[in-house]
Amino acid sequence: MIPRPRPERFRLRRTMMFMNAQKPGLIKDAYIYGCDSIMLDLEDAVAENQKDAARFSLYHALKTVDYGSTEVIVRINGLDTPHWREDIRVCVAGGADGIRIAKCESAQDVKTVEAAVEAAEEEFDVERGRTLLMAALESPKGILNAYEICCASERMLGVAISGGDLRKCLQTSPQRDGVDMLAARGQVILAARAAGVQCFDTVFTNLDDQEGFEAEVLQNKAMGFDGKSLINPKQIRFVHQVFAPTQKEIAQAEKIIRAYREQSASGVGVFTVDGKMIDIAFIPGAERTLKLARACGLYEGDLV
């Protein structure tokens, strides 16, 4: 049994890679590719008549595999299926870091899952509040309710857009410039930022179209997403590259934190760095930059 540290609600999640929880060869060591989170899938990847088998596999994988610092999230079946309650039980009993609620449309959906998670934590004697939640927004209604969903629980780490179904509902298809998802992406980012949780863009499924994938990742970063869902390990590197801070950003962040610590020690709250006015509001951003830089292997200092 591999003890896992308490999941962190706010951590680096540039890449979340989907893996079929039913395939022993896949889930045993998906972490070697270096994604930030792996998403073990009990939903679409698992055939209807293998849901039970997938849970047994998942349970033992969670209990046996040393995923190290890679976050382990499980995508459970939708609330309109007969599977989700048992999915939650196995996730909590196995000690998954988080649960991804499929097809989430309202705060009530989150609360429903939360109640089941709480009950499972009780049943399996798991620390209350340990299991994090995130929601996949896959319908126009889910997108429109993004803010209430983000705010629905203290366990919520963030929301992810799930593009496949959403595009069908929107009566569109993947477009080169991303215009098909523009409204949804904008809405979700606004909601997540307003609620103070993270947001992740949908998967890019055409593995042969590297150019299209790269364009989409660049746009994700420019729009302010925290990360992206992935379907193949070969997509990880580019996302990490794009989401890595530049040397200039790292240097600036270091300066800000250093200056802030010096100034606040002597009681000064507002000061200037390179001619720019800085106060405490800049600190979380600078710290985020350095943490990101450390995860990318670009920062070895001790400020964070």
């Binding site: 060869g25 045993k28 060591d29 070697i32 590719y33 040393d66 193949n232 390990p233 070969k234």
Partner: protein, 521 residues
């Protein structure tokens, strides 16, 4: 008697001056006497050497029981010739006590397993042994232990007279009526015929088997008419689909790609990665994919590869055509891109197995090699590699050019996943040592890189380049923590195969396996 890689070699095998493995370059500087064949003069002008059947050729060459027949494996899994010849010799002519000395044998040769079980084939000398043949030999059904040699060890043994070939069979995609052979121009093309060349020079008799007779002279010939006794035309020498795949594709498996990228990183971190460097890679997933990443580093540094050798396939030919490699010298071809390029694309040449890898000659290409990237079935904490036996103890592989290139190159990189299914690739002791650890420098796995402590210079290179590496012991422990520590295999005393080091000393033996059936208490 224990040898330099710690393997216990039974004394009874050490007869006739045979020694156990003593370490790399042990035979350097020693003199050998080359063997000479006893061949028939063809002084009177001959219109044609074409005979009507394999049987006629065998009879003309005086085939009889107890002889050694040689074959080469350029037709790979598509080969029909070994089975055709052996069927005629054994079933039509009733010959017995035959020995097959092949450059390699594979899944195409399952029928030979029957002749082994019947006791008609009593000796096998080869690099590769797989499929049913591997199983029957592992089960102890071959009368004498199989002798396993590397691609360089084989021409050494032939030239030194350790293998005397009575009749060499040349599977020729094209031949003219007197036996000038080429690997192209026919319907079952294989490109290079490098492994057949030494056979033709040192066998008492040489029979060409072809399915495409062409006009005289068939030039430039890979095997020359001056060595050929008879030419047989058959309907088909092999299945073209299995001889050469359409194009060896670079793996898309993310694990392979990740390892391949690390291989390229290691190469680029060494001082030998400079303009004009030389390179060989296997055709396995991660080995071949290393080409792709190496090209990126070459472009970045603005350097070109001087030359490449080995079994060749499309991606290397592509580099040659793009002008990124100066010359490609080729002992065997794996896909149609390579088959169609040899001796056609400027700079793409054919070579013999001896020229490629023979440790007893004076100019083998492997000795000038900077880098070689190779796969492994197993590698142990002494960096000894096994590419012959599965971790269940059954023969199912081939040393091929592995020990030769490892010994000759400046940097030998093994690339393999840490585990395959439930098999730990990195382990405490390999089942069989096919390449000694003193020839292996770097191990790249999906769980990390390890450098042989014998190469502090490489450790320094990696440290300087900021490439993380760990001990091979820690990789082994990781592997066992994933799959569990395997039980020791159980063996009987009987030796079923002798593994010769490339220099002719004995590197290891394979014994008969005692299988676990699950019903034991």
């Amino acid at each position: 008697m224990k040898n330099a890689v710690g393997r216990d070699i039974p004394e009874y095998l050490l007869t006739g001056g045979r020694e156990v493995y003593q370490g790399k370059n042990y035979m350097d500087g020693k003199y050998i006497t080359k063997a000479s064949p006893r061949t028939r003069r063809c002084e009177a002008p001959q219109e044609s050497k074409v005979v009507e059947s394999i049987r006629a050729a065998l009879e003309q060459c005086g085939a009889k029981s107890g002889m050694t027949f040689s074959f080469h494996h350029h037709l790979r899994d598509g080969d029909y010739v070994v089975n055709q010849v052996m069927a005629v010799a054994i079933e039509e002519m009733g010959l017995e006590d035959l020995t097959i000395a092949a450059s390699s044998l594979g899944n195409a040769h399952d029928p030979i397993a029957d002749y082994i079980e019947q006791g008609k084939v009593v000796g096998i000398q080869t690099s590769g042994i797989r499929g049913r043949m591997g199983e029957v030999v592992s089960a102890g059904k071959l009368k004498t232990p199989a002798i396993i040699r590397s691609h360089g060890g084989r021409p050494r043994a032939i030239e030194g007279g350790e293998v005397h070939i009575d009749i060499a069979f040349i599977a020729a995609p094209t031949s003219d009526c007197v036996g000038n052979c080429r690997g192209i121009g026919g319907k079952s093309n294989c490109g290079s015929m490098g492994y057949a060349m030494t056979d033709a020079k040192y066998a008492d008799h040489v029979v060409v088997v072809t399915d495409c007779l062409v006009d005289f002279p068939n030039m430039p010939a890979s095997v020359e008419a001056i060595d050929v006794d008879a030419v047989v035309v058959v309907d088909s020498i092999g299945n073209p689909k299995k001889i050469a795949s359409a194009a060896a594709r670079i793996s898309q498996n993310p694990r392979d790609l990740m390892m391949a990228e690390n291989v390229a990183k290691v190469i680029a971190a060494t001082p030998w990665f400079k303009d004009g460097f030389s390179f060989q890679t296997g055709v396995g997933g991660p080995s071949l994919a290393a080409n792709l990443f190496l090209e990126k580093y070459m472009d970045e540094r603005g350097i070109k590869m001087g030359w490449a050798i080995g079994g060749i396939c499309g991606p290397m030919v592509e580099l040659l055509k793009k002008g990124k490699v100066g010359k490609v010298i080729d002992v065997q071809d794996f896909d149609l891109d390579a088959v169609n390029s040899i001796n056609q694309t400027p700079g793409h040449y054919e070579m013999s197995a001896s020229q490629y890898a023979n440790p007893a000659n004076k100019g083998a290409f492997v000795n000038k090699l900077d880098f070689v990237v190779l796969a492994a079935l197993e590698i142990d904490t002494g960096f000894n590699v096994n590419v012959l036996t599965g971790s269940d103890g059954v023969l199912r592989g081939a040393p091929g050019g592995h020990p030769d290139t490892a010994a000759g190159s400046k940097v030998c990189i093994i690339v393999t996943p840490l585990t395959r299914g439930r098999m730990a690739t990195v382990c405490e002791h390999v089942v069989t040592v096919t390449t000694p650890g003193d020839c292996v420098d770097v191990l790249v796995t999906d769980y990390g890189i390890a450098v042989n402590p014998l190469r502090p210079d490489l450790i320094e290179c990696l440290d300087k380049a900021g490439i993380p590496h760990v001990t091979i012991e820690s990789l082994k422990e990781k592997a066992y923590s994933l799959v569990g520590r395997p039980d020791d295999l159980e063996w009987e005393d009987k030796v079923v195969a002798v593994l010769e080091a490339r220099d002719g000393t004995i590197l290891d033996v394979v014994r008969k396996i005692k299988p676990y059936t699950g019903t034991e208490e």
